[in-house]
């Protein structure tokens, strides 16, 4: 297992957002966090990344207990994060947004600027564009590309398919398959079940801050009760 969460409890102020969340992700697997809006998927990813540190519980990454470490320490251990609001640095160019990730993470591996440009050719044509002036779709590619530039072992993707046209969602599925092909493990939170079914091996379903069901994607999709109770909109 590359990542194991055990009994993770996270609070926003006094509100108990994650309640005893346990989950695991295997190396080179693509795993989905499923559930409706506001159930704690984003908070789970933020807890792993150290952005909203849990109050209790254990997070083991690559055999190391990492709970309580600051985000920058996790980044250098090999976790990268694409937030749902993308968080492109508005003042830096497209190219600088990519390079900064490689520079500060100081990890080497398959991914570099030209490999990311191969994956998203539009980022090459927008090289000198300021982050501020990029479209939503471009920002999404840039945010994902930036995460890869750090050469992570694990990427956390928050709502990768959200707001994308169906054709682009299909492209994104190919991209995620390419990423996993280069031994990057993916944990993503998404509400698009068709997309998740296409790219994910397994899914963990969260409901009101608790883990309620874990299974293979096929298993989840074929259990009508689970889909109806936790996932149907």
């Amino acid at each position: 297992m590359i990542l194991t969460l055990k009994d993770v409890n996270t609070y926003y102020g006094t509100s108990h957002v994650l309640q005893d969340i346990s989950l695991d992700v295997d190396t080179a697997e693509v795993v989905a966090l499923l559930g409706r809006n506001g159930v704690g998927k984003t908070t789970t990813l933020r807890s792993i990344m150290g952005l909203t540190p849990p109050k209790s519980g254990s997070i083991v990454f690559n055999g190391q207990e990492v709970q309580g470490r600051p985000p920058y320490a996790l980044a250098s251990l090999g976790i990268a994060y694409m937030p749902d609001d993308l968080r492109i640095f508005p003042d830096l160019t497209c190219e600088e947004n990519l390079e900064i990730a490689a520079r500060v993470a100081k990890r080497s591996g398959y991914w570099n600027k030209s490999r990311v440009h191969e994956l998203f050719p539009v980022l090459n044509t927008r090289r000198k564009q300021k982050g501020l002036n990029m479209s939503g779709g471009e920002k999404k590619m840039l945010s994902l590309g930036r995460a890869l530039m750090a050469n992570p072992d694990l990427v956390l993707l928050d709502e990768p398919s959200e707001g994308l046209a169906p054709l682009i969602v299909r492209m994104l599925a190919d991209v995620i398959n390419t990423i996993r092909g280069h031994e990057v493990t993916v944990l993503l939170a998404d509400q698009n079940l068709r997309f998740c079914r296409r790219v994910c091996d397994r899914g963990h379903i969260i409901e009101k801050g608790r883990m309620v069901h874990s299974d293979t994607m096929e298993g989840i999709m074929s259990t009508e009760r689970v889909v109806k109770e936790y996932l149907a909109l």
Binding site: F89, D91, I100, K106
Partner: protein, 289 residues
């Protein structure tokens, strides 16, 4: 009349450049750390006193004092950020103001203990003690030198922020510290670095002021910090471009005020600030919130 106007302008520009030197550090620290550092004026004062002491140790070599003095103040800035300010970032702004204001009082008294409460006459700089004739009147060479230093500092800062990776990382962290941290930027270390650099800028201002102001007094930081605050506010908090422009305006305004309506000298500056805040609360280059 024209000669007089030229000289009022020159005096205003050199004063403006002083305010800019102090305001640049203040603005950089606010832009990146989000802290309004009242003690920045104290760093200016300490810069002046350290330079003065060092230059008298090194047989009146002003440049050696100027090179070493601000570095000593950087050590002070490091202690302030690393062991005090760091613990109040997560608190509301008033706590940060209170803490930095406490340092103003501490440093003022420290200077009184170490250097005495009276004022100290400052030495002249070899080669720059004289004046040059401009438009038929004498203008201090040293003031011309300051007018050259100000834009050089501005250019240096711009190059550092725009063209180096350290600068890009600073800009990234100041626009989104959480995302910068998630990418691997050691934000606490970066904050310390920026604070110490800002301290150095303020202390350089103080060091350069030694021959300019003529007298060193405990509390000499307070006057300049108020000017620097006004400049930072009208330029747009956190905007270096705004601080540069603001410093030029305040320098010129106060120079013209002193010359033509001396009794309203300070008044004019605050009228301008009130006007700018009414017309554009975020300042010239600030972002509307």
């Amino acid at each position: 009349m024209l000669e007089s106007l030229i000289h009022v302008c020159l005096a205003g520009l050199s004063k403006g450049m002083f305010i800019w030197l102090v305001a640049s550090g203040l603005t950089l620290i606010f832009g990146v750390l989000g802290v309004l550092n009242f003690a920045h004026g104290s760093f200016y004062m300490l810069g002046a006193y350290f330079c003065y002491t060092l230059l008298s140790m090194f047989s009146d070599n002003f440049w050696l004092g100027l090179a070493l003095g601000p570095l000593c103040v950087c050590a002070v800035g490091f202690v302030v950020e690393r062991f005090f300010l760091r613990y109040v970032y997560h608190l509301h702004l008033p706590y940060q103001l209170l803490l930095t204001f406490a340092f103003v009082i501490i440093f003022d008294n420290l200077v009184k203990i170490l250097w005495g409460g009276g004022s100290i006459g400052s030495p002249t700089v070899t080669g720059m003690a004289g004046s040059v004739s401009i438009a038929g009147r004498l203008f201090p060479t040293y003031s011309l030198f300051i007018m050259a230093v100000g834009p050089l500092v501005a250019l240096g800062l711009w190059l550092m922020l725009e063209k180096t990776w350290a600068g890009r990382i600073i800009r990234a962290a100041s626009s989104d510290r959480e995302m910068a941290s998630a990418l691997g930027v050691r934000v606490p270390a970066l904050y310390t670095g920026v604070f110490v650099f800002g301290t150095w800028l303020g202390a350089m201002g103080g060091g350069l002021a030694v021959p300019y102001v003529g007298l060193l007094t405990p509390g000499m930081g307070e006057g300049i910090i108020i000017d620097a605050f006004v400049v930072a506010v009208i330029g747009g908090l956190g905007s270096l471009k705004g601080a540069f422009l603001g410093a030029l305006i305040i320098g010129l305004l106060s120079s013209f005020g002193t010359r033509f309506i001396p009794s309203f000298d300070m008044f004019l500056i605050f009228i301008l600030m009130a006007g700018v805040l009414l017309w554009r609360p975020q300042g010239f280059f600030g972002e509307a919130s």
